[in-house]
Symmetry: C2
Subunit: 199 residues, 2 copies
Protein backbone atom coordinates (compact mmCIF):
# COMPACT_ATOMS: atom_id res chain seq x y z
CA UNK A 1 0.00 0.00 0.00
CA UNK A 2 2.93 2.34 -0.66
CA UNK A 3 0.96 3.98 -3.45
CA UNK A 4 -1.77 5.36 -1.24
CA UNK A 5 -1.43 8.85 0.18
CA UNK A 6 -0.46 9.20 3.85
CA UNK A 7 -3.74 10.89 4.86
CA UNK A 8 -5.90 8.24 3.18
CA UNK A 9 -3.83 5.47 4.72
CA UNK A 10 -4.16 7.08 8.17
CA UNK A 11 -7.93 7.38 7.75
CA UNK A 12 -8.23 3.72 6.71
CA UNK A 13 -6.23 2.73 9.80
CA UNK A 14 -8.49 4.80 12.03
CA UNK A 15 -11.67 3.30 10.58
CA UNK A 16 -10.22 -0.21 10.85
CA UNK A 17 -9.78 0.29 14.60
CA UNK A 18 -13.54 0.64 15.08
CA UNK A 19 -15.39 -2.48 16.24
CA UNK A 20 -16.85 -4.64 13.47
CA UNK A 21 -14.98 -2.79 10.72
CA UNK A 22 -12.39 -4.81 8.85
CA UNK A 23 -9.73 -3.68 6.41
CA UNK A 24 -12.02 -3.79 3.36
CA UNK A 25 -14.85 -1.88 5.05
CA UNK A 26 -12.37 0.68 6.35
CA UNK A 27 -11.14 1.23 2.78
CA UNK A 28 -14.69 1.60 1.51
CA UNK A 29 -15.49 4.12 4.25
CA UNK A 30 -12.33 6.11 3.53
CA UNK A 31 -13.16 6.29 -0.19
CA UNK A 32 -16.67 7.36 0.72
CA UNK A 33 -15.24 10.20 2.84
CA UNK A 34 -13.02 11.19 -0.11
CA UNK A 35 -16.02 11.46 -2.40
CA UNK A 36 -18.18 13.39 0.07
CA UNK A 37 -18.48 17.14 -0.09
CA UNK A 38 -16.05 18.65 2.41
CA UNK A 39 -18.76 20.11 4.66
CA UNK A 40 -20.50 16.73 4.90
CA UNK A 41 -17.29 14.93 5.82
CA UNK A 42 -16.45 17.53 8.44
CA UNK A 43 -19.88 17.03 10.02
CA UNK A 44 -18.77 13.53 10.99
CA UNK A 45 -15.43 14.80 12.31
CA UNK A 46 -17.22 17.50 14.31
CA UNK A 47 -19.81 15.06 15.68
CA UNK A 48 -16.98 12.91 17.08
CA UNK A 49 -15.31 15.97 18.59
CA UNK A 50 -18.61 17.23 20.07
CA UNK A 51 -19.33 13.94 21.74
CA UNK A 52 -15.91 13.84 23.36
CA UNK A 53 -16.15 17.44 24.46
CA UNK A 54 -19.77 17.67 25.60
CA UNK A 55 -20.81 14.27 26.86
CA UNK A 56 -20.25 13.42 30.53
CA UNK A 57 -21.88 11.13 33.06
CA UNK A 58 -24.97 12.21 34.99
CA UNK A 59 -24.07 13.20 38.56
CA UNK A 60 -27.00 11.20 39.90
CA UNK A 61 -27.34 8.04 37.80
CA UNK A 62 -24.16 7.95 35.62
CA UNK A 63 -26.15 7.85 32.40
CA UNK A 64 -24.74 9.91 29.51
CA UNK A 65 -25.50 13.59 29.96
CA UNK A 66 -24.56 17.00 28.62
CA UNK A 67 -25.31 18.83 31.89
CA UNK A 68 -24.96 17.82 35.57
CA UNK A 69 -28.05 15.64 35.29
CA UNK A 70 -29.20 13.48 32.38
CA UNK A 71 -32.53 13.99 30.61
CA UNK A 72 -34.16 11.25 32.68
CA UNK A 73 -33.05 12.49 36.10
CA UNK A 74 -34.09 16.01 35.10
CA UNK A 75 -37.59 14.89 34.10
CA UNK A 76 -40.05 15.59 36.97
CA UNK A 77 -42.57 13.11 35.51
CA UNK A 78 -40.32 10.12 36.21
CA UNK A 79 -41.15 8.02 39.28
CA UNK A 80 -38.30 8.67 41.74
CA UNK A 81 -39.32 5.80 44.03
CA UNK A 82 -37.97 3.23 41.56
CA UNK A 83 -34.37 2.72 40.43
CA UNK A 84 -33.47 0.31 37.68
CA UNK A 85 -29.84 -0.92 37.76
CA UNK A 86 -28.11 -1.41 34.41
CA UNK A 87 -24.53 -2.10 33.42
CA UNK A 88 -24.10 0.44 30.64
CA UNK A 89 -25.88 3.48 29.16
CA UNK A 90 -26.78 1.40 26.10
CA UNK A 91 -28.71 -1.04 28.29
CA UNK A 92 -30.63 1.95 29.61
CA UNK A 93 -31.40 3.04 26.02
CA UNK A 94 -32.69 -0.43 25.20
CA UNK A 95 -35.04 -0.36 28.20
CA UNK A 96 -36.20 3.16 27.35
CA UNK A 97 -37.07 2.05 23.84
CA UNK A 98 -39.47 -0.49 25.34
CA UNK A 99 -41.46 2.41 26.89
CA UNK A 100 -42.37 0.02 29.72
CA UNK A 101 -40.60 1.81 32.56
CA UNK A 102 -41.12 5.22 34.08
CA UNK A 103 -38.71 5.23 37.01
CA UNK A 104 -35.10 6.35 37.35
CA UNK A 105 -31.93 4.41 36.57
CA UNK A 106 -28.54 3.76 38.03
CA UNK A 107 -25.77 2.90 35.58
CA UNK A 108 -23.00 0.78 37.09
CA UNK A 109 -20.58 1.49 34.21
CA UNK A 110 -19.57 -2.16 34.16
CA UNK A 111 -20.16 -5.41 36.03
CA UNK A 112 -18.26 -7.22 38.75
CA UNK A 113 -15.81 -9.42 36.85
CA UNK A 114 -13.06 -10.81 39.09
CA UNK A 115 -11.32 -12.53 36.17
CA UNK A 116 -10.91 -9.14 34.45
CA UNK A 117 -9.81 -7.54 37.72
CA UNK A 118 -13.03 -5.51 38.00
CA UNK A 119 -14.27 -5.41 41.58
CA UNK A 120 -17.32 -3.64 43.04
CA UNK A 121 -15.10 -0.67 43.94
CA UNK A 122 -14.56 0.04 40.23
CA UNK A 123 -18.29 0.51 39.67
CA UNK A 124 -20.76 3.13 40.88
CA UNK A 125 -22.19 0.80 43.55
CA UNK A 126 -21.20 2.95 46.53
CA UNK A 127 -23.09 5.85 45.03
CA UNK A 128 -26.12 3.61 44.48
CA UNK A 129 -26.17 2.62 48.17
CA UNK A 130 -25.99 6.31 49.06
CA UNK A 131 -28.95 7.05 46.75
CA UNK A 132 -31.00 4.30 48.38
CA UNK A 133 -30.03 5.52 51.86
CA UNK A 134 -30.86 9.19 51.29
CA UNK A 135 -33.68 9.08 48.73
CA UNK A 136 -37.26 7.84 48.95
CA UNK A 137 -36.56 4.72 46.91
CA UNK A 138 -39.05 1.89 47.36
CA UNK A 139 -37.98 -0.53 44.62
CA UNK A 140 -34.64 -1.41 43.04
CA UNK A 141 -34.96 -3.42 39.80
CA UNK A 142 -31.92 -5.43 38.73
CA UNK A 143 -31.49 -5.24 34.96
CA UNK A 144 -27.88 -6.38 34.69
CA UNK A 145 -27.21 -8.76 31.82
CA UNK A 146 -28.71 -12.25 32.27
CA UNK A 147 -25.33 -14.01 32.32
CA UNK A 148 -22.91 -15.20 35.01
CA UNK A 149 -21.23 -11.86 35.63
CA UNK A 150 -24.46 -9.85 35.41
CA UNK A 151 -26.22 -12.22 37.82
CA UNK A 152 -23.23 -12.12 40.17
CA UNK A 153 -23.27 -8.34 40.15
CA UNK A 154 -27.01 -8.29 40.88
CA UNK A 155 -26.57 -10.74 43.75
CA UNK A 156 -23.74 -8.67 45.24
CA UNK A 157 -25.87 -5.51 45.11
CA UNK A 158 -28.99 -7.15 46.51
CA UNK A 159 -26.91 -8.37 49.48
CA UNK A 160 -25.71 -4.81 50.08
CA UNK A 161 -29.27 -3.52 49.99
CA UNK A 162 -30.88 -6.10 52.27
CA UNK A 163 -30.64 -3.86 55.36
CA UNK A 164 -32.61 -1.08 53.66
CA UNK A 165 -36.38 -0.84 53.50
CA UNK A 166 -36.46 -1.37 49.75
CA UNK A 167 -37.86 -4.12 47.53
CA UNK A 168 -35.25 -5.68 45.24
CA UNK A 169 -36.58 -7.29 42.05
CA UNK A 170 -35.05 -8.48 38.79
CA UNK A 171 -36.23 -8.67 35.19
CA UNK A 172 -38.43 -11.66 34.42
CA UNK A 173 -36.80 -14.59 32.62
CA UNK A 174 -38.54 -16.96 30.30
CA UNK A 175 -39.13 -17.77 26.67
CA UNK A 176 -38.86 -14.84 24.29
CA UNK A 177 -41.90 -13.55 22.44
CA UNK A 178 -41.77 -14.75 18.83
CA UNK A 179 -39.43 -17.69 19.49
CA UNK A 180 -40.22 -21.39 19.03
CA UNK A 181 -40.03 -23.82 21.95
CA UNK A 182 -38.39 -26.46 19.79
CA UNK A 183 -35.28 -24.29 19.36
CA UNK A 184 -35.22 -22.89 22.89
CA UNK A 185 -32.41 -24.20 25.09
CA UNK A 186 -32.93 -26.02 28.37
CA UNK A 187 -31.72 -23.17 30.63
CA UNK A 188 -34.32 -20.83 29.12
CA UNK A 189 -37.08 -23.46 29.46
CA UNK A 190 -36.07 -24.13 33.08
CA UNK A 191 -36.29 -20.38 33.81
CA UNK A 192 -39.66 -20.20 32.07
CA UNK A 193 -41.05 -23.14 34.04
CA UNK A 194 -39.81 -22.01 37.45
CA UNK A 195 -41.09 -18.49 36.83
CA UNK A 196 -44.45 -19.54 35.33
CA UNK A 197 -47.30 -17.12 35.81
CA UNK A 198 -51.08 -17.49 36.31
CA UNK A 199 -53.08 -17.04 33.12
CA UNK B 1 -34.75 8.20 21.51
CA UNK B 2 -35.63 11.34 23.46
CA UNK B 3 -33.49 10.15 26.36
CA UNK B 4 -30.24 10.22 24.44
CA UNK B 5 -28.04 13.31 24.54
CA UNK B 6 -28.03 15.59 21.50
CA UNK B 7 -24.33 15.02 20.73
CA UNK B 8 -24.64 11.23 20.88
CA UNK B 9 -27.73 11.31 18.71
CA UNK B 10 -25.95 13.52 16.16
CA UNK B 11 -22.97 11.15 16.08
CA UNK B 12 -25.22 8.13 15.56
CA UNK B 13 -26.90 9.96 12.66
CA UNK B 14 -23.54 10.77 11.11
CA UNK B 15 -22.32 7.18 11.36
CA UNK B 16 -25.61 5.89 9.97
CA UNK B 17 -25.05 7.96 6.81
CA UNK B 18 -21.92 5.99 5.95
CA UNK B 19 -22.34 3.19 3.41
CA UNK B 20 -23.02 -0.27 4.85
CA UNK B 21 -23.66 1.08 8.35
CA UNK B 22 -27.19 0.66 9.65
CA UNK B 23 -28.85 2.15 12.71
CA UNK B 24 -27.66 -0.57 15.10
CA UNK B 25 -24.05 -0.45 13.88
CA UNK B 26 -24.09 3.34 14.08
CA UNK B 27 -25.20 3.10 17.72
CA UNK B 28 -22.47 0.58 18.47
CA UNK B 29 -19.86 2.81 16.85
CA UNK B 30 -21.07 5.86 18.77
CA UNK B 31 -20.88 3.99 22.08
CA UNK B 32 -17.42 2.84 21.15
CA UNK B 33 -16.37 6.45 20.55
CA UNK B 34 -17.86 7.38 23.94
CA UNK B 35 -15.76 4.75 25.68
CA UNK B 36 -12.53 5.62 23.85
CA UNK B 37 -9.93 7.86 25.43
CA UNK B 38 -10.44 11.38 24.11
CA UNK B 39 -7.12 11.52 22.24
CA UNK B 40 -7.91 8.26 20.44
CA UNK B 41 -11.35 9.47 19.38
CA UNK B 42 -9.95 12.76 18.15
CA UNK B 43 -7.43 10.85 16.01
CA UNK B 44 -10.36 9.63 13.91
CA UNK B 45 -11.89 13.12 13.74
CA UNK B 46 -8.51 14.55 12.70
CA UNK B 47 -7.91 11.82 10.12
CA UNK B 48 -11.21 12.73 8.43
CA UNK B 49 -10.29 16.42 8.50
CA UNK B 50 -6.77 15.76 7.17
CA UNK B 51 -8.08 13.76 4.25
CA UNK B 52 -10.49 16.50 3.24
CA UNK B 53 -7.84 19.18 3.62
CA UNK B 54 -4.77 17.47 2.15
CA UNK B 55 -5.94 15.03 -0.48
CA UNK B 56 -6.30 16.23 -4.07
CA UNK B 57 -6.11 14.65 -7.52
CA UNK B 58 -2.78 14.13 -9.24
CA UNK B 59 -2.23 16.74 -11.98
CA UNK B 60 -1.06 14.04 -14.40
CA UNK B 61 -3.16 10.93 -13.77
CA UNK B 62 -5.98 12.08 -11.40
CA UNK B 63 -5.06 9.49 -8.78
CA UNK B 64 -5.31 10.66 -5.17
CA UNK B 65 -2.32 12.78 -4.23
CA UNK B 66 -1.08 15.13 -1.52
CA UNK B 67 1.19 17.11 -3.87
CA UNK B 68 0.87 18.10 -7.56
CA UNK B 69 1.79 14.55 -8.59
CA UNK B 70 0.81 11.26 -6.94
CA UNK B 71 3.37 8.79 -5.60
CA UNK B 72 3.18 6.71 -8.77
CA UNK B 73 3.69 9.57 -11.25
CA UNK B 74 6.56 10.85 -9.09
CA UNK B 75 8.33 7.48 -9.09
CA UNK B 76 11.09 7.46 -11.77
CA UNK B 77 11.20 3.64 -11.76
CA UNK B 78 7.71 3.37 -13.28
CA UNK B 79 7.49 2.63 -17.01
CA UNK B 80 6.16 5.83 -18.59
CA UNK B 81 5.48 4.15 -21.95
CA UNK B 82 2.43 2.35 -20.55
CA UNK B 83 -0.78 3.90 -19.26
CA UNK B 84 -3.46 1.81 -17.58
CA UNK B 85 -6.96 3.36 -17.64
CA UNK B 86 -9.14 2.86 -14.57
CA UNK B 87 -12.44 4.35 -13.46
CA UNK B 88 -11.59 5.22 -9.86
CA UNK B 89 -8.57 5.52 -7.55
CA UNK B 90 -9.70 2.40 -5.71
CA UNK B 91 -9.45 0.37 -8.94
CA UNK B 92 -5.88 1.62 -9.20
CA UNK B 93 -5.19 0.48 -5.63
CA UNK B 94 -6.57 -2.97 -6.42
CA UNK B 95 -4.27 -3.27 -9.45
CA UNK B 96 -1.29 -2.01 -7.43
CA UNK B 97 -1.91 -4.66 -4.82
CA UNK B 98 -1.49 -7.32 -7.50
CA UNK B 99 2.12 -6.07 -8.03
CA UNK B 100 1.75 -7.15 -11.65
CA UNK B 101 2.03 -3.72 -13.29
CA UNK B 102 4.86 -1.22 -13.39
CA UNK B 103 3.52 1.46 -15.73
CA UNK B 104 1.57 4.65 -15.09
CA UNK B 105 -2.19 5.09 -14.74
CA UNK B 106 -4.95 7.41 -15.87
CA UNK B 107 -7.97 7.67 -13.59
CA UNK B 108 -11.16 8.64 -15.43
CA UNK B 109 -13.01 9.54 -12.20
CA UNK B 110 -16.10 7.76 -13.48
CA UNK B 111 -17.42 5.94 -16.53
CA UNK B 112 -19.54 7.00 -19.49
CA UNK B 113 -23.12 6.40 -18.29
CA UNK B 114 -25.69 8.12 -20.50
CA UNK B 115 -28.58 6.96 -18.29
CA UNK B 116 -27.03 8.80 -15.34
CA UNK B 117 -26.29 11.83 -17.51
CA UNK B 118 -22.53 11.20 -17.41
CA UNK B 119 -20.95 11.86 -20.80
CA UNK B 120 -17.26 11.64 -21.83
CA UNK B 121 -16.90 15.38 -21.18
CA UNK B 122 -17.46 14.76 -17.43
CA UNK B 123 -14.46 12.46 -17.26
CA UNK B 124 -10.72 13.06 -17.65
CA UNK B 125 -10.69 11.64 -21.20
CA UNK B 126 -9.57 14.84 -22.91
CA UNK B 127 -6.55 14.99 -20.65
CA UNK B 128 -5.78 11.36 -21.45
CA UNK B 129 -5.75 12.07 -25.19
CA UNK B 130 -3.41 14.97 -24.52
CA UNK B 131 -1.10 12.68 -22.52
CA UNK B 132 -1.02 10.16 -25.37
CA UNK B 133 -0.39 12.92 -27.92
CA UNK B 134 2.48 14.60 -26.07
CA UNK B 135 4.09 11.72 -24.15
CA UNK B 136 6.05 8.70 -25.34
CA UNK B 137 3.20 6.29 -24.63
CA UNK B 138 3.34 2.99 -26.50
CA UNK B 139 0.55 1.02 -24.84
CA UNK B 140 -2.78 1.98 -23.29
CA UNK B 141 -4.36 -0.80 -21.18
CA UNK B 142 -8.11 -0.59 -20.58
CA UNK B 143 -8.94 -1.63 -17.03
CA UNK B 144 -12.43 -0.18 -16.75
CA UNK B 145 -14.93 -2.42 -14.98
CA UNK B 146 -15.94 -5.53 -16.98
CA UNK B 147 -19.59 -4.51 -17.28
CA UNK B 148 -21.72 -2.70 -19.87
CA UNK B 149 -20.75 0.83 -18.87
CA UNK B 150 -17.09 0.01 -18.32
CA UNK B 151 -16.88 -1.76 -21.68
CA UNK B 152 -18.68 1.14 -23.39
CA UNK B 153 -16.24 3.60 -21.86
CA UNK B 154 -13.27 1.51 -23.00
CA UNK B 155 -14.69 1.27 -26.51
CA UNK B 156 -15.25 5.03 -26.66
CA UNK B 157 -11.67 5.71 -25.58
CA UNK B 158 -10.13 3.14 -27.94
CA UNK B 159 -11.98 4.82 -30.84
CA UNK B 160 -10.52 8.18 -29.81
CA UNK B 161 -7.02 6.71 -29.68
CA UNK B 162 -7.07 4.85 -33.00
CA UNK B 163 -5.32 7.65 -34.90
CA UNK B 164 -2.34 7.58 -32.53
CA UNK B 165 0.63 5.24 -32.80
CA UNK B 166 -0.30 3.40 -29.64
CA UNK B 167 -1.34 -0.15 -28.88
CA UNK B 168 -4.68 -0.39 -27.07
CA UNK B 169 -5.23 -3.54 -24.99
CA UNK B 170 -7.66 -4.60 -22.30
CA UNK B 171 -7.52 -6.85 -19.24
CA UNK B 172 -7.88 -10.56 -20.03
CA UNK B 173 -11.26 -12.15 -19.34
CA UNK B 174 -11.85 -15.72 -18.38
CA UNK B 175 -12.50 -18.00 -15.46
CA UNK B 176 -11.23 -16.78 -12.10
CA UNK B 177 -8.45 -18.60 -10.30
CA UNK B 178 -9.91 -20.69 -7.49
CA UNK B 179 -13.43 -20.84 -8.91
CA UNK B 180 -15.28 -24.00 -10.04
CA UNK B 181 -16.48 -24.36 -13.63
CA UNK B 182 -19.77 -25.87 -12.49
CA UNK B 183 -20.77 -22.59 -10.85
CA UNK B 184 -19.33 -20.29 -13.49
CA UNK B 185 -21.91 -18.53 -15.65
CA UNK B 186 -22.14 -18.83 -19.42
CA UNK B 187 -20.86 -15.31 -20.17
CA UNK B 188 -17.66 -15.98 -18.24
CA UNK B 189 -17.22 -19.38 -19.95
CA UNK B 190 -17.80 -17.82 -23.38
CA UNK B 191 -15.14 -15.19 -22.61
CA UNK B 192 -12.76 -17.89 -21.39
CA UNK B 193 -13.25 -19.99 -24.53
CA UNK B 194 -12.93 -17.16 -27.02
CA UNK B 195 -9.80 -15.86 -25.25
CA UNK B 196 -8.18 -19.25 -24.76
CA UNK B 197 -4.40 -19.32 -24.61
CA UNK B 198 -1.72 -21.80 -25.71
CA UNK B 199 -0.46 -24.02 -22.89
Amino acid sequence: MTQITESVSALIDQFARLPGIGKKSAERLAYHILRLHKTEALQLADAIRDVKENVRYCDQCHNLAERELCNICEDPRRDATRICIVEQPRDLMALEQSSAYNGLYHVLLGRVAPLDGIGPEHLTIEHLVQRVRTGDVREVIMATNPNTEGDGTALYISNLLQDFDVEVTRLARGVTTGSVLEHTNKEILADALSGRQKL
